[in-house]
């Protein structure tokens, strides 16, 4: 912060809910961006004293170190179930989960489908970087055909290893889901749009309109073996065609939501 005897207006700075510590995320990893957006949105909505976050297992396992919010740590894949337990018992709290590919789309598929189909009034931030980051870059349900990972070293073979799961599309078929969108964080323009979507998602929860999920295409420079700059290009060129950005489910009430 600038100490000056002149009145100062903040144009852009770290939100105070995002703790001022260096994150353990790799250089160029867009987890930091997603964290910042969630922190900014919750601050702007005045919800930071009313929010309980559910951290999951992945690179973001220590997410609670970076937010000045109450948090619980779920087991791998179970964050939507924990969030359900919290929200059902304390419906006036704002509850969100923050999950990665393996957590949400592999081991946790039962829980996310359960929560979405029940229309649990929680918000899910889903970080899709097409691999299992924390454990060293294995194949994920979101790994693209032909993509090399440490458990698909010759490239994902769809014959033997199947096709990736398009999670936003999948969940949007559920009647119980109210707001399912996919955004990206590979450019500042897309990051701005992502923030709007995250804001909408939390507003859906605040207005009691049901289940909201924002899938965020993210970079993983380390496990993709690319520089941060090339990694964001990889998102643009390789991920966008398979994971198109868009609004896959917007319930009628959500479409009319003004905030």
């Amino acid at each position: 912060m600038v100490v000056t005897d002149m009145p100062t207006r903040i144009v852009n700075q770290r939100p105070k809910t995002f703790e001022p510590i260096t994150t353990h995320y790799c250089p160029g990893c867009t987890h930091g961006v997603a964290h910042r957006l969630v922190a900014e949105v919750l601050e702007e909505m005045g919800e930071i004293e009313n929010t309980i976050g559910v951290a999951s297992v992945g690179c973001s396992v220590f997410a609670y170190n970076y937010f000045n919010l109450d948090f619980v740590e779920a087991a791998h894949g179970r964050a939507p179930a924990m969030a359900t337990g919290i929200k059902r018992v304390y419906p006036e709290r704002t509850v969100f989960t923050y999950q990665g590919d393996g957590d949400l789309a592999s081991i946790g598929m039962g829980e996310i489908v359960g929560a979405a189909s029940r229309g649990e009034e929680i918000t899910v931030i889903f970080i899709n970087n097409a691999n299992y980051g924390m454990t060293g870059g294995q194949m994920a349900p979101t790994t693209l055909p032909g993509q090399r990972t440490t458990s698909s070293p010759t490239g994902r073979d769809v014959e033997r290893q199947g096709y990736p799961i398009q999670t936003a599309e999948l969940l949007s078929t559920l009647e119980g889901a109210s707001y399912i969108v996919r955004r990206s964080m590979h450019s500042s323009r897309e990051i701005r749009r992502a923030k709007q979507a995250i804001r909408t998602a939390f507003e859906v929860q605040k207005h009691g309109m049901g289940f909201s999920l924002v899938e965020l295409l993210s970079t993983c420079p380390t496990n993709w073996g690319l520089t941060p700059v090339d990694a964001r290009k990889w998102v643009e060129e390789r991920m966008l065609p398979y994971y198109p950005l868009g609004d896959f489910k917007v319930a009628a009430a959500v479409a009319d939501l003004k905030f």
Binding site: E49, I52, A75, R78
Partner: protein, 371 residues
Amino acid sequence: MAKVLMKGNEAIGEAAIRAGCLNYFAYPITPQTEVAEYLSRRLPEVGGVFLQGESEVAVSYMLFGASACGARVFTTSSSPGVSLMSEGLSYITAAQCPAVIVNIMRGGPGLGGILPSQGDYFQATKGGGHGDYHLLVLAPASVQETVEMVMSAFILAEKYRNPVMILGDGLIGQMMEPAELPPMQPLNTEIPEWAVRGTQGGEKRVLTSINLDPPAQEVMNLRLMTRWQEIEKNEIRYKEYFMEDAEYVVVGFGTAGRVSLSAVRAAREQGVKVGLLRPISLAPFPNEVLDALSEKVKAFLVVEMNAGQMLEDVRLVVRGRKPVEFFGRMGGVVPFPDEVLTEIKRLVEAPPTTQGHPRDRWLARLAETLG
């Protein structure tokens, strides 16, 4: 207070509500599904939360989430479902959250059968899930005892910030017995100082169980163990019957203990000086009373509806001082009192030994009986 004729499973549900627990997450599994069916009607009547989760795995984490907020919450399941909850119970204990789980045991392993067994003793008392932790395990033998246990389970869980498991079986769950239901306890609306609640302008609270720094994790483990020692000191529960002049002691918990009581009564009528020790807290195990009996009596007969699980804990305490024999039925078969009486008489008449393993002798006899 008047007694009500109630099915065990329904009594469990009603007792929880009377204990001030209005949050229940569960998944159907025989032979305890009636709890969920009963509460799906009853909880909305009292403004509580009822949710059928998508699996026992999910349910164990719904339990964790609600418990992390300081709310009274419980679930019921049966053996295979409890296996699925094992990871969750490890997490809940590690995060020091209170929760109550009722296991209405059925035949196993695997998909097993739907009739009663006691095959989950090891799982319950030695942890079930991974890591160094213990559940406080209580075993009722009647619907009335179950009701009282449910009432006290929440208090114990909150006192020690540790999950409590009530280890029942399909017989207790399914049978109907008269039970006195306690009055509604007042609801506790205060959020404990360790629970997550949204910072509300205060310091943030994080409930987690990951600790990548080994010395720090060890401190955590030590805290859990120290708490367990407190529980061991304060929460031993058991009942003794016909023990003053007993020369032989039958040891049995839950339904096996209840059946054994009938056998012990019959044996007494025939002049056999036999008593019954019925552990009620299985973890912590009533080591001291058993240790004292080991000095006094001639031999023990352990009766269980499994292949000899509590048997191991009894043998450990007796440590070869006196013979310990075993009788069990498995797979959902419930022993009859006269079967146990036959075993008591065998213990008294044939010279028992401390050599070999009682399980082997029992298995040989069982194989013969079953042809």
